[in-house]
């Protein structure tokens, strides 16, 4: 008796008691189907049925022309009613095809549908061994025998209806978050919308015009921002971040931490405090292209309109407190935390623009190279609310540039920097900006240095053609370096025009880098709080790129927009809409139906090693403080991967326990049936 047998024996002993209490002595019904000639043509079904009779615990063994037909199914039901059969085996086609019909049939007669075992003797046996009839019959016998062994110890698995809290959390209030929040609210679901910054709208409020139709972004985002701001069902929290997330699909407990605004809500946003505030720092919202005070509002149409004080730069001179006509400024506000329950979470944390300082030959951000900017900074200069009132000026001397050179693929399609992907967006917005600049200053020569112009989709090729017509020069070559002449201070972009094979040195008064889209800065901690998997590029990983691009790796958590990967605005809105719809489904229905095919932990055997937690991809196993694991049944995907890693076989997936599998393996390996 090897050590393994003893171990299995003890487990069996434990299981036998629990199993037998629940389902009295097993009485198995075996039904072999002819499936016309599909099975009977190769396998001698009568012989198989005869053999099944001889197996232990088998009380009824029949073979019939078409088991899946009405009379066939009725035959199964009768056997349960009359002979008290409590486990059924049907040897016919595959589980995906008719497994469900027999499962539903035995459920109608009061038997738990998991007590049925489908044996595939058609696709796995008769159809593929048509030349070896004798061997096919032997194989069919063994498969049926395995089915019988397997069904002997099947336990009940009931499907639970778990009620869901009818509320949703949306993280991030960019265009994706606003869209998702709005769609959810329209379905009557209360939404908690939290935003890390002090104002909502995300990157879109910074843009000057959006491609391909060059309409201004305010008109596509302001209905959403206003709609969200005063929607009865949406609670908006700005300056707020997720602190803790517990629970699983359908019932999450969320704790958020709201950083203080130091300005009460009765602020009429008259702007007096900012006007008199002595402190001036570069404004992050304006990408550093203009200054803001220590107490500020990001941009005139910001929502919420209340001002916010930046504690780090504030010198506490109290002028804002004294000057405020409604005494809204209050330095004593403390960070507060809020807890609430939600059914689903939509993550719409957006993206960050790649910081090109890492590419040293372009000297971005080094002193003396102020005229090397990124596309977002150019958008800020062009936009109506900019400091330069939408004039394009050189940051170094404020003059209008004579030569503007745009460089594509900065930080993307670059293995050295570790971003091998192409965002598919930089070409579109570079061409848009190039055209706008060329139209504003016809005698400035605008050049785009590209590797491949990628403008797929409707009316983007027209955008490309219109830029060419207006006179934007396109040079195919990736610039290697931006050189500054120390004496004249003039920038030159060194590039090879690969189409005419001539190395060029382009004079450039202003260089605009089309920087890639990279995962946002706070993605690490957010990802670990949500227990979701991330792709190798750092974005959150979708469940399946085609079948389910908006569900994350964990049930109940959905991804909207660029947090899942680089997208342009129209794709983001479509993606956010689908995320909202999927997130709303369990909430509108009110419950989640989940088959409780989940692991059971035998705490006598468990040594608290925590290995099961490491292997569980949907993070459904939580370890409490003294190391005892517990299974979060709703989050479990019943994949069974925790079983082999458990050193003491303490965790066993119901109906896939080691001994249940062992019985089936024994039969299939030719070791003969085992009896009770």
């Amino acid at each position: 008796m090897t050590v393994k047998e003893e171990k299995i024996k003890d487990v069996e002993k434990v299981d036998k008691d629990t199993a037998s209490e629940k389902s009295e002595e097993p009485r198995i019904g075996v039904f072999v189907c002819h499936c016309g000639h599909n099975i009977a043509g190769t396998v001698d079904v009568a012989e198989v049925a005869e053999y099944a009779k001889t197996l232990p615990n088998v009380v009824k063994a029949e073979h019939y022309m078409f088991m899946c037909s009405k009379p066939g199914v009725q035959m199964v039901k009768d056997s349960i009613k009359e002979l008290g059969v409590n486990r059924t085996v049907v040897a016919s086609c595959s589980k995906n095809q008719h497994g469900k019909t027999f499962a539903r049939a035995i459920e109608e007669v009061g038997l738990n549908k998991h007590r049925h075992q489908q044996v595939n003797v058609r696709e796995y046996c008769s159809w593929v061994h048509q030349k070896e009839k004798n061997k096919a019959t032997q194989k069919a016998k063994q498969l049926v025998e395995a089915g019988v062994n397997r069904t002997r110890k099947l336990e009940d698995v009931e499907t639970q209806k778990i009620s869901t809290t009818k509320a949703a959390l949306v993280i991030g209030a960019g265009i994706a978050g606003l869209r998702a929040a709005n769609d959810l609210a329209e379905l009557g679901i209360p939404v908690y919308l939290i935003e890390k910054e002090s104002t909502i709208g995300g990157h879109m409020t910074r843009l000057n015009k959006t491609f391909p139709t060059l309409e201004c972004p305010q008109c596509s985002i302001s209905p959403l921002t206003n709609g969200v701001a005063n929607h009865p069902l949406i609670e908006l929290y700005t300056n707020a971040q997720v602190k803790e997330i517990e629970g699983s699909m359908g019932n999450f407990e969320i704790e958020i931490e709201i950083k203080p605004r130091y300005v009460k809500d009765n602020c009429t946003s008259c702007g007096e405090c900012a006007a008199h505030c002595p402190v001036e720092v570069p404004s992050e919202w304006d990408m550093g292209m203009s200054m803001r005070n220590a107490i500020y509002k990001a941009y005139p149409q910001a929502i919420p309109a209340t001002y916010v004080r930046d504690k780090k730069n504030c010198i506490e001179c109290n002028t804002c407190i004294n000057i405020c006509p409604v005494q809204a400024v209050d330095f004593s506000m403390q960070p507060e935390t809020k807890k609430f329950k939600v059914g689903s979470i939509v993550v719409a944390a957006g993206y960050d623009e790649y910081d090109p300082t890492e590419i040293e030959p372009y000297h971005y951000g080094q002193d003396g190279y102020e005229d090397v900017i990124t596309q977002l900074k150019l958008e800020r200069m062009l936009s109506p609310t900019s400091l330069t009132n939408s004039e394009v000026l050189r940051p170094s001397d404020g003059k209008i540039p004579k030569n503007v050179v745009m460089i594509q693929c900065v930080g993307s399609r670059n293995d050295q920097v570790g971003n091998p992907y192409c965002t598919g967006v930089c070409c579109k917005y570079a061409i848009k900006n190039a055209r706008i600049v060329k139209e504003m200053y016809p005698d400035t020569n605008v050049t785009i240095c590209y590797i491949d112009i990628r403008t797929p989709g409707l009316n983007f090729e027209e955008l490309y053609k219109s830029a060419q017509e207006v006179g934007v020069r396109f040079i195919r070559g990736r610039p290697s370096e931006i050189v500054k002449d120390p004496i004249s201070g003039e920038l030159r972009v060194i590039v090879e025009d690969t189409l005419s094979q001539t190395p060029l040195q382009l004079k450039a008064d202003l260089v605009v880098l089309s920087a890639a889209m990279v995962p946002p800065e706070g993605i690490g901690p957010l990802g670990s709080k949500l227990h979701v998997l991330r792709s190798k590029e750092g974005f959150l990983k979708e469940f399946h790129i085609k079948m389910n691009p908006t569900l994350s790796s964990k049930g109940g958590i959905f991804l909207a927009g660029t947090i899942q990967g680089p997208k342009d605005i129209s794709e983001t809105v479509a993606h956010a809409g689908s995320a909202a719809a999927l997130a709303a489904a369990p909430l509108v229905k009110g419950y989640i139906e989940k088959e409780m095919l989940v692991p059971a932990i035998d705490y006598e055997l468990c040594v608290n090693c925590g290995l099961c937690k490491t292997v569980c991809a949907p993070a459904a196993i939580d370890i409490d403080e003294n190391g005892v694991p517990s299974v979060n049944e709703v989050a479990c995907k019943s994949c069974g991967m925790c079983m082999p890693v458990c050193p003491t076989a303490a965790i066993q997936l119901i109906n896939f326990r080691d001994d249940q599998l062992l019985d089936e393996i024994i039969a299939v390996s030719g070791g003969g049936a085992i009896c009770e």
């Binding site: 030959p361 693929c409 399609r413 670059n414 293995d415 050295q416 920097v417 590797i451 491949d452 195919r476 070559g477 990736r478 610039p479 290697s480 370096e481 060194i494 590039v495 090879e496 025009d497 690969t498 094979q501 190395p503």
Partner: protein, 182 residues
């Protein structure tokens, strides 16, 4: 294909290329992933003044165009490694050009000056042999007249290493006669 067409044929066919030839060129270099972006030629300082176009050399290797081996431009590279640093696909063009030079020497196109340098190495152990004027300076500076390198031991008669250099190292194909080369 009559030979008249053969002469004026401007287009190339698959037979003119032999991509297998460069199969194991610098296995580490990812030359087959080159997207022809031109960063290498743009950062090439020698290419600004000469006909050296690194990108088109890499292109010819990827296509398997063997004319690149006879092309004198590959000898204009100063191995400054700027293209090696700046290639977004990590193709390491400097190593590729050095490898091409290896193939080229096997075919025999070596410049006479380089051949002379190999000669110096083989009989003095140095690419730049010493001369009397420098010997005088060394003495004035208080250093011994001959540095303790191979050349000094050759003067003192035991130069077995140098003989081995002669025998085993840097075998160069013989100099073809003039007319064959043209």
């Amino acid at each position: 294909m009559s030979d008249v067409e053969e002469q004026h044929r401007e287009y190339k066919m698959d037979e003119d290329f032999d991509p297998k030839f460069f199969k194991d060129i610098e296995r580490k270099s990812n030359i087959w992933k080159c997207i022809q972006c031109g960063s290498c030629t743009a950062s090439c300082e020698s290419g600004r003044w000469t006909a050296l176009k690194t990108r088109s050399i890499v292109r010819k290797v990827v296509l398997g165009d063997l004319s690149v081996l006879k092309d004198p431009d590959i000898w204009l590279c100063t191995t400054c490694y700027q293209c090696y640093e700046r290639c977004p696909r990590d193709v390491r063009p400097t190593d590729v050009i050095m490898e091409l030079r290896n193939y080229a020497t096997k075919l025999g196109n070596i410049s006479p000056n380089h051949r002379a340098v190999v000669g110096y190495l083989k009989n003095t152990g140095h690419a730049v042999p010493i001369n009397d004027e420098v010997k005088k300076r060394r003495v004035e500076l208080g250093l011994e007249e001959l540095p303790p390198t191979l050349y000094k031991f050759k003067q003192e008669g035991e130069d077995k290493d140098l003989k081995n250099f002669e025998k085993h190292m840097f075998p160069l194909p013989p100099v073809e006669e003039e007319e064959e080369k043209k």
